[in-house]
């Protein structure tokens, strides 16, 4: 049995925020703003706690005699170097915040760009193997539509706008993904609504209580 107190607090706060959004009048609207400000502050603190937890997990991995992970040493060193330099930049101004940000970005951006490069190759490879993994009409439609939109978006058919029938056909094709996306997003919005309501009603509790 979970704590009824936690559940009651979560439901009451959730209802207050919802009522504050739908009926933004008087004290309810102000309460909603205050609660959301608290939520944002708490989320920030939670982020810091989780980052320290991540560092602690990797610290334990270094000390694990059976499955020692040597890469964790680099994570711990990079974490403390960045953390201490960030604190020093904020408190003492040495290094300056601009320099600190520039160094962090100079390391982070190439690494992220490399991973995106790997992702591009992985996706190209996966699309070649798609028919091995997935057979049926949907896979054929997926590949044909991917090829059609690659051609359209590459600009190869940019002259088509002035050709009467081709121009209309390209416009029609460009509308298809918009319609499909709206359908999918509508379903996701309805799913979001019912998920939120389950939490407000206390049937779903993503907390231990």
């Amino acid at each position: 049995m979970r704590s009824p107190v936690s559940t009651a607090i979560a439901m009451a706060v959730g209802l207050l925020v919802l009522i504050g959004y739908l009926l933004p009048i008087g004290i309810v609207g102000q309460l909603r703003t205050i609660i959301l400000d608290w939520a944002i502050t708490l989320a920030g603190i939670a982020g810091l706690v989780a980052i320290f937890n991540l560092a602690a997990v990797h610290w334990r991995k270094i000390g694990d005699k059976r499955n020692r992970d040597y890469y964790s040493i680099f994570l711990i060193l990079a974490f403390w170097a960045t953390f201490l330099a960030g604190v020093a930049a904020k408190v003492w101004g040495v290094p300056s915040q601009h320099d600190f940000q520039r160094v962090v970005t100079a390391i982070q951006m190439p690494i992220e760009a490399s991973l995106m490069g790997v992702l591009a190759i992985s996706l190209a490879y996966a699309s070649f193997r798609l028919f091995q993994r997935r057979k049926g009409l949907m896979a054929i439609i997926f590949v044909i539509s991917a090829l059609v939109f690659l051609i359209i978006l590459s600009g190869l058919l940019s002259f088509g706008g002035s050709v009467p029938v081709l121009g209309s056909l390209i416009n029609l094709l460009n509308l298809l993904p918009v319609a499909g996306a709206r359908g999918i997003l509508l379903g996701i919005a309805l799913g979001s609504l019912t998920t939120g309501l389950r939490i407000l009603m206390g049937t779903d509790r993503p907390y231990s209580g």
């Binding site: 939670a46 991540l54 991973l115 992985s122 379903g187």
Partner: protein
Amino acid sequence: MNLEHIAGLVLVLASVVLLIVLSLPRKTRRGRDLRDIPGFRRLRRSIGLSVEEGSRLHISLGKSSPVNANGAASLAALAALERVARMNSLSDRPPIATSGDGSLAILSQDTLKAAYRLANALELYDPDRGRLGGATPISYIAGALPITSTEHVGTHLLVGSFGPEIALITEAAERRGALSLAATDSLPAQAALYATASEPLIGEELFAVSAYLQAGPAHTASLRVQDVLRLVAVGALILGALLKLVGVL
């Protein structure tokens, strides 16, 4: 109060009433409530097999904070995590949850703790099993990738808000021969997952994961509420189009 607020209030109240009514017990044949989705069949079998084979389940909860606009996907992921953790809590290799947001990581630890307590196995709970992969989308993927190769993972359940970079995890899972069932609210990520995941879920199927893992009548009822609301939306769209056609709108 404007029209948007009134419409929102009506939608929420109607959904609450429907959710309560459809949660009530009714005479139906077992197993006929939900349509068959092969991915969920494979997932349930894989959860059972993981206990026998001594492999682990990895649940990736995405990168969106529950207080963001994409928070619903994270909440759906937490519901799935609790269900999977309860089904798998007594395994030799208990499930691991990774997330790309601090508050989501803490909630995942809390959800795991609740699942172990409900399974009367709180002494087996290890907070390190719910961890932050990284604080940015790419660092999250970089932090979660080693799990595919070092933690004996046999099944990856990727539910939540992701970018297309999630395909790096599904590709790594594929190379290791692990099952990956993936559902997300992001359209570019859905396209990437369709090409790379063993079992991709499309659109609102993301919110059906917990219902298909038999989390309870409220979860099944919420799927039925979605169906009713979808029919209403379709009707409204057709009506709007007809009114536009005859020049009323």
